[in-house]
Symmetry: none
Subunit: 412 residues, 2 copies
């Protein structure tokens, strides 16, 4: 099965928006065994879109963008003309659009009603999160799917309406993929540590990809689909656990916050945070996980130094004597938080995220993470770089990982 | 001047890497007045690359990727064959590669020496940061540039070797772009409200693009570059301010948090947050802005309902009587926060983000945002949708916008 992607939008061509839709779709389709032969981006103009559609050479083409209610959105009309279909009112889509606006107490305009007029010969793919429905056109053995460009709408339609239909309609040489997630070890060091394992895996006909992102390296093991191949993959993944037992923290789409949340839930423990340099990012990451209210109680964000005295009762002279970014202050923060938030565990963060120096005498990129729990309190120091956003992300991961390792150890 | 971009690489097609090179190049070239007509991504294979090159229709094509030392990098050989050139050793490039490896104390392989063999009829574009030189081919009036895919190498070659040559070799009609940011009005409703303005603008030879993202619609006004055209654009932007004075909140790359931070700084006011449903996202957004410690003091994240009693002294029966997601509780939260955090203003959030119902009897997507300040306290209700991540994002924007409007009003 071959697939092409066409992305429509001036904002993509002039780089105002990075084309993450093509990357996401390519990733999903490749994992399903499709071969992505080409992706093309064209402007919001009739002739370039038409030429791109006429040039399709693959079994399936997914077109994203150009389905909004405004005048520059021309994809629907153009596809209807191309396939010689009429635009007719589609009552279920109209009902959905009406409910969409009434739920939000927003008036509905003619342009929104017009979004319910859809080509009469295509399959309608409902859009739960927006007003532009997806469309599946089948024509002389070829398939063209048109989706809105808004990423979360596009992804939801793909998951709800497209994934299953593809497996039903196309011969895919499905690959079996398993991804494991590691933290706390760099890509080249990891490669060295697992070199023997990797060589055995390759000799056994499997393949391995390293997928690094800030603070994480994902390892994807792939094999052709088949029961014995799947067993082989599982065998290697089990072996990997004993090579990097501390670094391997999760699988597939899991996040560190999800893994930690699962452990807290299993152990029936509660958590809170006292954050300075991460200023809510740690709490936000935990609360992103549905069901987090079972274990996450809340936080004190003592961003300004004086608030560490006012809210946490850490004396001003204690902070001045130790430096606000220090082991002693991280420990006092974690202890005060556990006490004031009445939780089993409390994580604390204090560091210098840059670009400016702040109240600390330490170097930009220095972070102390504290953790207090039923068995005592500790703090750990990290040295990150100059990039503020990356430092915040790295601190979040390091703090969650400290909690993860502690929960695993205390329960073993 | 028209430009196409060709990106080479399997990792782009399968979404392992997001194509930021095309976005960056598109952005630079559009700002220089070029019209980007198409971008194409093809695999590391001879025929697809060749077909993409044969299909070029623009004055200039920039090809990125496929210039590395390994066997899957075939771009250089392919372009040399296509233009019927020989690969000959280029002594300055060899000297650069030798120094590159000796500086790093790394052994040099034959594959690296081969990188100094370059097509004998093209201009060599030195790569200061890597071993793959760029190449500029001129053929029958058309121009093809080949660059490495490593982003910082590609960008440096563009800045050092390409930017100036483009202005010398092409007639560029530089465009003048200005982007304004709106919040609190949907795309189609906005289009209706500014229809007359838009029509006048179009009749005046300018162009307008709507760029929606969750909670925001950006409007980009463009014109050919020239003093009178720039004045025209500014004239229309000024006129727009009086049509949507409340909704228009910023320009270009600004964020809502940045705009609000600027107002707080100017008015020398401090802010804190008491967050339930946003659980740190509001604080995190404010702290993302460098210099935010001047005005942002800290937060109380009372995620679990009981913590609103323990930390904020809101009686349990008061919460039970009003519902935890209510105007009364949002107001009490904002008041308690302003008091406990000793700030001029305090924002509060309480809502049901979904998917589960939580402690409230209200509908998923319902959010109350409270704001207390020197002139009193208020709360506003919002109805968002079913998507947890999006609801958090929308609440964050709505809360910051409430503060923005209040700061503007109280200072006017």
């Amino acid at each position: 099965m071959t697939v092409e992607l066409i992305s429509i939008g001036d904002e993509l061509l002039i780089g105002q928006t990075v084309n993450t839709n093509a990357a996401w779709l390519g990733n999903q389709l490749a994992a399903m065994g499709a071969k992505i032969t080409k992706t093309v981006t064209v402007p919001d103009q009739k002739n370039p879109i038409l030429r791109a559609i006429q040039a399709i050479e693959s079994d399936l083409c997914i077109v994203t963008g150009g389905l909004g209610p405004t005048n520059d959105d021309i994809t629907k009309k153009l596809l209807a003309d191309y396939f010689e279909m009429e635009l007719v009112l589609h009552p279920p889509t109209l009902a959905h659009i009406e409910s969409f606006f009434s739920k939000r107490n927003r008036p509905m305009l003619q342009a929104n009603i017009d979004q319910a007029k859809l080509p009469d010969g295509c399959e309608i793919l409902p859009n739960r999160f927006g007003t532009a429905a997806g469309m599946w056109f089948t024509h002389e053995g070829g398939h063209i799917i048109s989706l809105p460009g808004v990423p979360y709408e596009m992804k939801d339609i793909f998951e709800q309406e497209i994934r299953l239909r593809i497996t039903e309609r196309f011969q895919v040489n499905e690959m079996y993929h398993r991804t494991v997630l590691t933290h706390g070890i760099g890509e080249s060091f990891l490669a060295q540590k697992i070199a023997n394992w990797e060589n055995a895996l390759l000799a056994d006909g499997l393949s391995l990809a390293y997928l690094p992102s800030p603070g994480l390296v994902k390892l994807r093991v792939s094999s052709p689909k088949g029961i014995s191949e799947q067993a082989k993959v599982e065998h290697y993944l089990n072996a990997l656990k004993s090579i990097i037992p501390k670094e391997l923290f999760g699988v597939e789409q899991q996040t560190m916050a999800e893994v930690v949340g699962q452990l807290l839930k299993e152990q029936e423990k509660t958590i809170g945070t006292v954050e300075s340099c991460t200023a809510g990012n740690l709490a936000a990451a935990m609360v992103e996980i549905p069901g987090s209210s079972d274990y996450f109680r809340g936080s004190l964000l003592t961003y300004q130094t004086l608030l560490k005295t006012e809210l946490l009762d850490i004396p001003e002279d204690f902070i001045a004597a130790n430096d606000v970014v220090s082991e002693a202050v991280a420990i006092r923060m974690a202890e005060a938080g556990r006490n004031k938030l009445s939780t089993d565990y409390c994580l604390s963060t204090t560091g210098i995220m840059g670009p400016s120096q702040g109240d600390s005498k330490d170097q930009v990129g220095t972070v102390w993470v504290g953790l207090s729990g039923p068995n005592g309190v500790m703090a750990k120091c990290f040295h990150f770089g100059d990039n503020r956003a990356r430092n915040i992300e790295m601190t979040k991961l390091a703090a969650l990982n400290l909690l993860r390792l502690t929960l695993l150890q205390e329960n073993s």
